[in-house]
């Protein structure tokens, strides 16, 4: 038999999934994930997801962009190519605000997108959950709860029985 990644239960509506996730957490499972076709806030609460890395990454990106943007304006206008335009100071702060603002936004946006992808581990062309036969419906109308085999409490038959108790449509093996 091939190695098992975990057990997957399929639910028909978001309420059942949220309820099942909560019960699985209460039963002591820790390595589990839920899959849904749209973001469900209650699900993040049920899984106790508290990830505050992304806002910090975006803030860092913004600060970096702002510093680099101003540094570019300053270095070109004061050091590399000093040009007297209408007697304005070489370090023309008000004029430099615009490029600085734009680079701040640009770097912060890059940080938001690539930070989100990197923290989510995307792109990931292969993932075991796609082996579950009905998993394609997770992007359409079905809700899935997967308890992974690396969970310390995982035991194939017991976990199967536990998931069946939660009232899913079907429980299936997810091959590695």
């Amino acid at each position: 038999m091939t190695k098992i990644y975990g057990l997957m239960a399929e639910f028909e509506n978001p309420n059942d999934l949220v309820e099942a996730t909560r019960r699985a957490r209460e039963a002591g499972f820790t390595k589990l994930d839920a899959y849904s076709p749209y973001p469900i806030e209650a699900l993040a609460e049920a899984l106790d997801i508290h990830d505050r890395k992304l806002p910090a990454v975006v803030l860092g990106g913004g600060i970096l962009g702002g510093v680099l943007g101003y540094a570019l304006c300053y270095w070109t206008s004061v050091i590399a190519y000093p040009l007297n335009v209408g007697g304005k100071p070489l370090n023309s702060v008000p004029a430099f605000i615009v490029p600085t603002f734009e680079t701040t936004i640009l770097f912060a946006a890059f940080a938001a997108v690539f930070g989100m992808l990197a923290l989510n581990g995307l792109p990931m062309p292969y993932h075991p959950v796609f082996n579950a036969p009905r998993f394609a419906l997770a992007s359409r109308d079905r809700f899935f709860l997967c308890i992974e085999s690396k969970d310390p409490k995982f035991d194939h038959d017991e976990t199967w029985a536990f998931l069946t108790k939660l009232g899913p449509r079907v429980v299936m093996d997810v091959e590695e």
Partner: protein, 464 residues
């Protein structure tokens, strides 16, 4: 008020509803995904794509001619050195603004009605910015040297002047194009996963699969995804306001009468939103008809957009009034003459047509009956598209044609190549848009699932 349209679903969406009743996750997903995945392409798609293709060829022919001959093929000359190129640049970039407004500002304001129109409005933004970007790049006359706009170490030892609004424009527009593209793509990832899972053809599975990057709808992913969307919206909101502000600086930082006005930034931003919503209506009305999307883009959407159109038209009208008032109040003879010249000079027809299109005609949107009449809305949107083009014509051309000394005055007229390039850029816009609606989900499927009644998760009692 009922319209002449036959309902597509059995139940017609009630007035005020943002989604027709009776949809489930399954039917909604299948209906929206089938637009991109279906093998049958509506006949009207071929018609629209053909128009876009032909006009794009006109654009390419014009660009070829331009590269061989130089900017002399355009009507620009002393004193009107900025003609159609800059005016079309401003027009297009303004149109793009509604997409960001819908996707970012309305997201922050938690307006769920935006969920069915944000995707194609964002696409419209990107295509409009692409068309806009062409103009200044080609207007340089030597587009193969356009990389000189970018600060980079070079053997000439030269650097851009960061005190110039023109370099600000380079930064603002490239940032805007990049951030809009990122926002659009990130917004599409979950829907691309839907298309990947629903596609039957191998090429479609592979294409959408690659684009979806292995999205699997994990709760942990959704959590970060939602955070990223909100943060991007928060970043795009000041960005979109800055872009048209910077565009207005191109004029306001100059001393030409008719340009040198402090009202310009807010008045340009309002004008951009105004033009953009007109374009969203111009696109939404035929699209919902062709693809039978009346259930998703309901009368409520059209009504809301008409109201935004009316509100922004009033802001723009205020801008015109302040411009005129300040010209007289300033006591400056050149400013006063500028205003007098607009209203009675050689381009007076343009000015009065602009006042009609942007100030008088939109007042019909006060009437609920007209806001709920689809032909009236479409005509209105077209009038505003024309009006905003005229506005830029009046600001750019009319101001330049008569500045200070009568000895340096001159008249401007677009040549056939000015017009062919303008038509061509409209063609490029249409062509890109038709490719988009055929290949990508033009309505955000996952955001539509969120507004379904069955998507509500009931609050649980044990939730501490």
């Amino acid at each position: 008020m009922s319209t002449a349209e036959p309902p597509h679903s059995e139940q017609k969406p009630a007035t005020g509803a943002i989604l027709a009743p009776g949809y489930t996750f399954t039917t909604l997903t299948d209906k929206l995904a089938s637009i991109a995945l279906s093998r049958r392409t509506p006949k009207s798609w071929f018609f629209g794509a053909a128009v876009g293709f032909v006009l794009t060829m006109v654009l390419l022919a014009t660009i070829t001619h331009l590269v061989f001959k130089g900017v002399g093929i355009f009507g620009v000359n002393v004193p009107v050195g900025w003609g159609f190129d800059i005016l079309n640049f401003v027009w297009w970039i303004g149109i793009g603004h509604a997409g960001t407004l819908i996707s970012a500002i309305l997201l922050l304001l938690r307006q769920p009605w935006r969920n069915s129109i944000n995707r194609f409005a964002e696409a419209m933004t990107i295509f409009a910015v692409s068309c806009a970007g062409l103009y200044p790049l080609l207007h340089t006359g030597r587009p193969w040297l356009d990389y000189w706009l970018v600060p980079y170490p070079n053997t000439m030892g030269m650097w851009p002047n960061f005190r110039s609004p023109l370099i600000w424009d380079v930064f603002a527009v490239t940032t805007y194009a990049t951030v809009s593209l990122l926002f659009w793509y990130v917004g599409m990832i979950p829907d691309l996963a839907t298309l990947r899972d629903r596609a039957k053809a191998l090429w479609a599975k592979m294409l959408y699969g690659m684009l979806a990057m292995g999205w699997r709808g994990s709760a942990r992913h959704w959590h970060r995804y939602e955070t990223a969307s909100l943060l991007l919206a928060g970043l795009a909101t000041p960005l979109v306001i800055s872009v048209h502000t910077v565009v207005s600086f191109d004029f306001a930082a100059g001393i030409v009468p008719g340009w040198h006005a402090t009202i310009f930034p807010p008045y340009f931003v309002a004008g951009a939103i105004y033009a953009g919503f007109a374009m969203v209506l111009t696109l939404a009305i035929p699209l919902r008809k062709i693809y039978g999307l009346e259930d998703f883009i309901t009368m409520k959407h059209l009504d809301n957009m008409a109201k935004i159109l009316l509100a922004t038209s009033l802001i723009v009208a205020y801008g015109y009034a302040v411009e005129a008032f300040m010209a007289f109040y300033s006591g400056n003879v050149y400013e006063r003459y500028m205003m007098w010249n607009r209203a009675t000079g050689p381009y007076k027809h343009m000015y009065w047509a602009l006042i009609f299109c942007n100030v008088l005609a939109p007042q019909m949107m006060w009437f609920r009956k007209l806001r709920h009449s689809i032909p009236a809305l479409f005509v209105m949107a077209m009038i505003v598209n024309v009006g905003m083009w005229l506005e830029r014509y009046v600001i750019i051309v009319v101001s330049l044609s008569r500045d200070f000394l009568p000895s340096s005055w001159g008249l401007y007229k677009g040549t056939v190549f000015d017009w062919s390039m303008f038509l061509g850029s409209i063609g490029l816009f249409i062509a890109l848009l038709f490719l988009f609606i055929r290949l990508l989900p033009m309505i955000s499927i996952f955001e539509m699932r969120v507004i379904l009644p069955e998507a509500k998760v009931e609050a649980k009692e044990e939730q501490a």
